[in-house]
Symmetry: C2
């Protein structure tokens, strides 16, 4: 066993900030602060190695007990106090501290060392018996809970645990005396309480509260170590992917008190404003209080300074005003710490008898906007490098500033009625409607609506478009609702299994609650919570956000990956360009078919029983497609636009009810029977594995021809108008090179025909989606016929796992709960399975054509982890929905920096 304890105090420390693996985060920072001359109460850190030894062997290493005594001596010397001494007792705190912060997940015991013997001495010394009995009361409560109860059985807090029972005693006393706050209890009250507490403890737990300071000390150390394996801690580590083997360190430190009277105080502060990022000291303090009082929210804390005043605290005296000397000392430490740690710090301090002690410093949490501002300002002030500034911003933080959010303060106070999957980030608030048509109707009258559906289909798109947000009872993160909403940056929650929709009565029930059409609800699409009633939205304004703009500029200087967007309309294309898209990587042509004047022709095409009939119907679709393509190509000029030919199985277009069948039969002058027959004949057991993708274009080359004609006529006309456009025709679902060869011929022939007919030369490319495992394994053959590859990772994930996106919710939640799978592979690329197929395809494709352009246009194009993977394996571009473009740019930047 190596060194077991690491002392710190009075400007010297055994460790430093780099020793987090051994000392934990807290311990390392305490050592570091001591080193740089910050006044930290002396103490020592017990290493994580002792912790893991203890966990494994249920005992301590040999020399450990004597080491602890040495550490205690060091503290006694520095505090000039003696642990357990009747005249001048030293009190200590015992706190956990893992490598990575696990806030609130492990245990703490304060005021260790208070006993019948040391109480009188401390009263004598502090001249404040109320303070002493209050401290004793706190010790007894914490110790009985943490050490005697949980430390024994490693149980999580139970409802009628000892802590609750003790608190009930205090409540009874307060009721009896008719008082409201703990602070109104007198010294005698507290002394009396301590006696009652100890009696109760013996009754409930069957053992005496220990009156020996060393018993307290060892009990505390053991309990804090054991709390590493508490239920909450284990669950948290699972979520945060913290290895169980790390274990925690334990910090034993001299107590200092902010509650020793009016010359004492406690406070927390951020070196910059964590809500805005503004470079102004920000915090709160409270006189005659301990840290837990601030957290408990019993009194409104005082503002630290002018900047920190809120509407609630504007009348309260600031530390700056109350104690300018201490405040200016604090300012010095603020500067010192931020300079030292090169980031905004979250600090805790205590003033004991007009002496300032710094208890903790750590990197301060901040919201997305603040994070960006702080990073940019620190970079501009040359405190951090460009790379560091970029790495400081997480993709989630960037995402945060792009969407309207529901007011986080109001959110805390609102009633959660259910929870679903956070499919479209941001917030939404509106009145419930149950059909797309109702949504449209209500929106026309100026109402804000939330569209609630069991699932959505392409025919709901117009209603989704006008809705503030979309809520579905079924579906996963890549369901239709999720894909469409995310593409628009619209708030969306899917897979709310608890919702039972009653379309007839226009209402839905959640458990026993019923909500009706017109009722207000609010959605937080970033965490999946659904709230009853209205919550205000906070809207971002990226155009005005100079920090965002600067961040993106820095990122673009570093990233190499091209970021394109998935867009099916000129509006989306324009939106994506604003976000920095450098082309369209996926323009789905089938989405263009659903408008009523178009769908009739696609249905006629499908129901035609001859090539001629199909051609006539297709010829009616041609002008629509052409004008769509003109719009999109010119919106994206001069960047390339990848247009995918028709992909979904035809029966998706003829999912009709009886009245629609009737109408269609009338329009087509054929019998309803005939319509039904044809629909029936298109039925497939597994449409995802059926007649779709290029299989359609091969069976019906006239569809490919029409689409190619529309693309190339649009191109030729735009070129004639002097607009530079570059279409890339993408053949979907190729699994065999000969499929691509076949479709390529059809498209090329049309390109030549149009160039000749319109007498315009234009450039174009023909490529394919790589979305079948077979395409990956035979990419060398396919590359012979492709100008580019674009990975369709949605389908590729489906086929590789054998999961249907539409059905995966039947077992995926169970898989994630049981740790069979870590993360939904439709959200973040499965690098081991799907990723290796991608690597194989790239290797094979580039073996055939070393300069083959390769990108990805599946949902994973907007996922940061996946983007890093794509960058690392040598893709040329990723394509994602417009609202993910900035995030993709940032992630691409991160990837480059981390590869250096």
């Amino acid at each position: 066993m190596n060194k077991t304890i690491f002392v710190f105090g009075n400007g010297k420390a055994d460790g430093n900030a780099n020793d987090k693996n051994i000392l934990g985060g807290k311990g390392a920072n305490l050592a570091e602060m001591t080193h740089i001359g910050i006044p930290v109460p002396p103490g020592f850190t017990i290493s994580t190695e002792v912790g893991t030894y203890f966990m494994k062997n249920n005992t301590y290493p040999l020399q450990f007990k004597s080491d602890v005594k040495k550490g205690l001596k060091f503290v006694e010397k520095n505090m000039n106090q003696i642990f357990g001494d009747s005249d001048n007792p030293l009190l200590i705190s015992i706190r956990s501290g893992a490598r990575q912060s696990m806030p609130g997940m492990m245990e703490t015991v304060l005021n260790i060392g208070l006993t019948e013997k040391t109480i009188p001495g401390l009263i004598q010394k502090s001249g404040n018996s109320r303070f002493v009995y209050d401290a004793y009361r706190r010790l007894i409560t914490m110790y009985s809970d943490v050490v005697m109860e949980k430390g024994n059985s490693n149980l999580a807090t139970v409802k009628d645990g000892i802590r609750e029972q003790l608190e009930q005693i205090m409540l009874n006393l307060k009721n009896k005396k008719g008082i409201k706050h703990d602070t109104e209890l007198s010294s005698e009250d507290l002394s009396q309480l301590c006696k009652l507490y100890k009696k109760k403890i013996f009754e409930v737990l069957g053992e005496e509260f220990p009156d020996d300071p060393f018993l307290q000390l060892w009990g505390g150390i053991g309990a804090v170590f054991s709390s590493w394996n508490g239920k909450r801690a284990i669950k948290y580590r699972k979520i945060e992917n913290i290895p169980n083997e790390w274990g925690t360190a334990v910090n034993v430190q001299a107590m200092v008190f902010g509650n020793m009277g009016d010359s004492s105080a406690t406070g927390v502060a951020f070196t910059r404003n964590p809500a805005t990022g503004e470079n102004k000291f920000y915090g709160e303090w409270m006189v005659n209080a301990q840290g837990e009082d601030v957290v408990a929210g019993i009194r409104t804390p005082n503002p630290l300074n002018e900047n920190s005043k809120t509407s609630e605290s504007s009348n309260l005296i600031s530390l700056e005003q109350a104690n300018p000397k201490i405040y200016s000392e604090l300012l010095v430490y603020r500067e010192k710490l931020e300079k030292h740690y090169r980031d905004m710090q979250d600090i805790e301090f205590t003033i004991q008898d007009d002496i300032l002690w710094m208890l903790q410093t750590r990197t301060g949490k901040r919201n997305g906007g603040a994070s960006i501002r702080i990073a940019i300002e620190m970079y501009e002030n040359e405190e951090i490098s460009k790379e560091e500034a970029i790495l400081r911003i997480s993709p989630e933080q960037l995402d945060e500033i792009m969407h309207p959010m529901i007011d986080p303060e109001a959110e805390k106070l609102s009633e959660i009625i259910t929870k679903g999957l956070p499919a479209g980030p941001g917030g939404g608030c509106g009145q419930i409607v149950f059909t797309a048509d109702d949504a449209e109707q209500w929106a026309k009258t100026g109402k804000k609506v939330i569209l609630v559906r069991t699932e959505t289909s392409p025919e709901d798109v117009h209603g989704m478009h006008v809705a503030e947000a979309v809520l579905t009872a079924r579906g996963g993160m890549t369901s239709h609702a999720a894909l469409v909403a995310r593409g628009w940056g619209k708030c969306c929650i899917v897979g709310c299994n608890e919702i039972c929709i009653d379309n007839d009565n226009k209402s839905f029930s959640i458990n026993n609650k019923i909500l009706k059409e017109g009722d207000w609800i609010s959605l937080n699409g970033s965490n999946g919570n659904v709230y009853n009633g209205k919550i205000n939205l906070i809207f971002p304004d990226l155009d005005q956000n100079i920090y965002y703009k600067k961040l993106m500029k820095l990122t673009d200087e570093i990233k190499k990956l091209t970021i394109r967007t998935n867009a099916d309309s000129p509006k989306d294309a324009i939106q994506a360009r604003k976000f920095g898209a450098e082309g369209i990587g996926l323009c789905r042509t089938e989405h263009m078919f659903f408008a009523p004047e178009r769908i009739i022709n696609i249905r006629k095409m499908i129901l035609a029983d001859s090539k001629e009939g199909r051609k006539i119907a297709l010829s009616k679709l041609l002008p629509f497609q052409k004008s769509d393509f003109k719009g999109i190509l010119s919106a994206m000029s001069p960047f390339p636009v990848t247009i995918r030919l028709l992909d979904p199985p035809l029966h998706e277009f003829i999912n009709l009810n009886n009245s629609q069948i009737k109408k269609l039969a009338f329009d087509l002058s054929i019998s309803e029977e005939k319509v039904k027959e044809r629909i029936e004949s298109l039925h497939e057991s597994n449409p995802m594995l059926g007649h779709r993708g290029c299989r359609l274009g091969i069976a019906f080359p006239e569809i490919t021809k029409m689409q190619a004609q529309a693309i190339f006529e649009a191109t030729a006309e735009l070129i004639s108008e002097g607009i530079q456009v570059f279409p890339e025709v993408m053949i979907p679902l190729v699994g065999i090179y000969s499929e691509l060869e076949h479709q390529r011929k059809v498209v090329e022939k049309m390109a030549i025909k149009i160039q000749n007919k319109l007498n315009v030369k234009f450039k174009y490319q023909i490529g394919t989606m790589i979305e079948l495992p077979r395409a990956c394994m035979t990419a060398d053959e396919i590359a012979n016929h492709a100008d580019f590859f674009s990975f369709g990772t949605n389908d590729l994930t489906q086929m590789t796992y054998g999961y249907s996106r539409d059905d995966v919710n039947g077992f995926l939640p169970l898989y994630i709960d049981n740790s069979i799978i870590d993360v939904d592979p439709f959200q973040s690329l499965d690098q081991k399975g799907v990723g290796n197929l991608i690597i194989e395809a790239i290797k094979k494709g580039r073996k055939t054509k070393s300069n083959l352009k390769i990108g990805i246009c599946g949902e994973h194009g907007g996922d940061p982890k996946s983007i890093q993977f794509f960058n690392n394996v040598g893709l040329d571009y990723v394509s994602c929905s417009p609202f993910r473009v900035p995030i993709a740019r940032l992630s691409a930047g991160h990837s480059e920096i981390m590869n250096k």
Copy 2:
């Protein structure tokens, strides 16, 4: 350009049998025969290089014309005749001859050299003017058709082509004269006909029939070369995978005549009996006739010898009797040729004026039984090696002898009413029924039935079992009907799209024909033909077939691959052992659930809303499963039995109609609504990619537990009875190692529990199917938890291609027609795509566990080409349906031999 012509004649030849690439098969054999002293009419072969040059450039190489003249000189010298000479004219034939035989696909012109000038000389010389005009008539007919019509435009025969028009003239003449046979036409008649023919030719084709022998010669050569690109030839090459680049050679050879009078004759013979394989000379001959007369079937040919007599020809004189001298000469050549070519030969001969000429020899076609007998007898006679004997038998030939077949002679005379996919080989004949229950009912009364269904499902199995054959209107080669029938070796035709079933009226229509319940039909499951009426069946008796047994013994001495079988019942297991299976590679447990007394419990299990409810239902299934496993394990003792745990999506078991729902609701004492709700909740968009395989066992571990309990209790009880059994538990559809880890734990725990409970030790293994692309890519991780891998190539093919077996018929026929794909990948393994995934999985799996046992249990386990692949990539075993076991053994032997 290399040598363009290769002469042969009078014991000398430029080439030999090894020169097939240059001389074509026919030319090489003519050269070879000449070398070994067989009397072949002299001639020369024009090389395939000239053919490809001509195809490419539409002209001949420079020196070619003079080379042909040299060749002609050689023939003239050897025949002592002069081409075009008025006194002693040489006539020649021009025949095609590709590297690989393409029987009847290309053209031939005979009697070239007959002109107004040479006719009198030939009459003079032969003393037979009728013969000469008959030859002239034939020349004019062939030449006008092959050279003047087809040779001009490369058109296939059209209905009113010149040949038909000329034949009409002859018919008119015969009618006028009141005669029936061509042979009754007199010399004058024929001379007259020739004049009428030439007139007609000029009228129809606008040019004169050439009267210059050299014009005829060059016309003939060009037309025969051109016939390589005739429609029929191209189609045939596509089917047989013959490259277009090969081109054909052309054989120019002196004519000899079997129709020069009663001392002339023609004949064909096999060196052994092609129907039985018996080592006896077999053939037919015809006096005063040309080869085409034998083929045309105008007269019944005479038997060659006693052995060759049939019921039809028993009264006719044999060659042996008619001309013992020639016959004994023929016997010498028979021996010489068979010894030389070391295989049974198919020979053609002509006797001209009592002189025997051998026109052709080639390896004789034979049926499966004959093939085996010939190979075994030649091996036993030390004419060929063991390896050669094995390679001589194709898997198709072996298959042929395993199933009853419909009488091939009767088949030719029967009316084909439709055609489907040949899903289960062999023949079947019976009365039509439309439901499984009817099938059972009728069969009980001793009737033979054919079950006709749109598709079959597991609930039809009892009806399929009693039926002679199964016919379905939908489904592909791996549909339910196909899989089940093939497993039983039962005749089955699927995907008969033309059939329209009217279940209400118990009839079906094909185009305009209607067949009713009780009507007789006959099926040829080896070619997919459906016949109207009864056709007799011919039944094999393998137990009596000593040649088959010897072949299998030889094969087993050579093969290394273990052959297991897919079997779900003791009966199948016993059948497979007879065929030589060395274990069960796939025992599907779900098939065991469909019997009425079982299905009710599986339905109860599915509809239970609690774990407890499921457990109760499962406990009722346990005894059934256990007794099934006991039966199968002991039937296969001491070989291993791989048992796959429940695989299909649960809703397959609750595909119910309203009355079934009603009954189930009653049985379960729950509402119909509840039953419907649960069924609805199990609905999936793409069940193939849904909640199935190990996903079920993970969601409902109690299913896995019950199955493991049944397996291990069966094992323990059998072991106690002294029966050696070895179960291998197979977890299906694993894509993530943690799935297998999870299920393995459940199974292992049960194994330990049963061993302790019953106090019996037994051995077992736990492994997984590798049937998802992800399983292949992560096989290294999965191997950590697997004792064996078994490739499920059906699902792996589905996922790799993104094809649903149930839907693939929507486009696969089109793909095959358009050469997008060569062969249905569900029938023969796609080596490039799926195969590479398999190789990847083997590599990764064995990297983790070098001795990992790996096999395959998909449909491809019975496909010869696929078996060779599996052998080459290092699998330990393949598993196939019982009736494929001998074929798999043979294929495994082939593979070993070919690898040497």
